[in-house]
Subunit: 125 residues, 4 copies
């Protein structure tokens, strides 16, 4: 099976930000969207890099075989530490099997929602 | 003719979502935008991957030679099964000839519309 | 001079659409944003591919040396033919020297504006 | 240490624009988001290319080791010159060590905000 053809193992998202406020029907949030087309579970490690403090490294999540996961960054936690709201940061995603990663943000700080999305950047490891 | 120079045969969109509500003049929708610059029809196969159930594989669509198609995901159907609204999922697009694929979403759940778009991720097969 | 290091000569944008309506202070529009970092003028050729008719090929524009150009698609014209509003289409951009191309759309059909943007897809020619 | 695996040294953003007006709680702005995963400071040089005048070259900024920086384009300055508002332009980002670059814009010219984002385009130098 051509496992190498189903994605990359290291992805970067330089623009992370959890909006602190919401309005209307939809809650502001960010998602790291991971597709695992493999026949085995993907063991994923997320690192958050900040502007003025040490990185929060190696937050672990799993994505099952042949499944997609939209991981809300606000739900990520390691040893009781979470990613703070209202702080610009960046995200690195590593997986033990090749996956594909897209980043999206919904911001409803002001009364109507705004969306943005981009494919993450694959590092060729 | 350098057919290989006109795109790729396998594209991935990790962040799929059909918004369940609309308001105002425009209907919420997603589009898989495919450009076929070949001199022959592209036979395209779409697979939807979910978070908690088996993939819906091999939904077939065609894009004619030298034509662009904006495929609404809500219109995709296989054996009576469609992609459900309001469910996060991911999309894989395969074509028998090289094409180029972009993904866009218009969300008018709240009164004013929001747009997002990204190029799909090409798998090097 | 390492000319090859300053971009690509063939770029694709599968999701083109000129919104037919505007509201508020800003007019709905699309832009093909081209950066020419060369020391010579870039002679650019734009082709529009449609869903149900022949392509509109080889609309010519120029981008001067060391200049950026945000080309409004509504301004493109060849032999009196223009790209119609309110029609899904796709865009191919070719240049005689390497450039970099990004696509952006502002839609103010409903009272508040929406934005989307993505890097175009470079064909390796 | 595999330094080459942590990004690229030259990134391009063809669609730059600093919106001249804001409304509501959030100020219109653009950010060049840079992630430096190296163990040394990244010395970054930004060049702005315009439609009708000479480029503003080599504006210097630094990103510390293992830090992310969301650089507001309105804050960039060289010899008292800044990037003007309300003018379409393009951005080149060079770094002495490999980094990853994403571009985002928040436009609140009209009463509700709009967002757009895309990964910058890496030049293979």
């Amino acid at each position: 099976m051509a496992v190498q053809n189903k994605g990359e193992t290291h992805w970067i998202i330089p623009d992370g930000f959890i909006p602190p406020e919401s309005s209307g029907k939809q809650t502001s949030h960010e998602s790291i969207c991971v597709l695992n087309m493999q026949e085995t579970t993907a063991n994923v490690s997320v690192t958050a890099y900040f502007e003025d403090r040490e990185p929060l490294k190696d937050i672990k999540v799993q994505v099952q075989a042949e499944r997609a996961s939209h991981i809300r960054t606000a739900s990520l936690e390691k040893d009781g530490r979470t990613i703070p709201e209202n702080v610009p940061y960046a995200i690195a995603v590593e997986s033990d099997v090749p996956v594909v990663v897209q980043y999206s943000r919904l911001d409803s700080t002001q009364p109507e929602l705004a969306l943005m999305s981009t494919m993450a950047y694959p590092l060729n490891t």
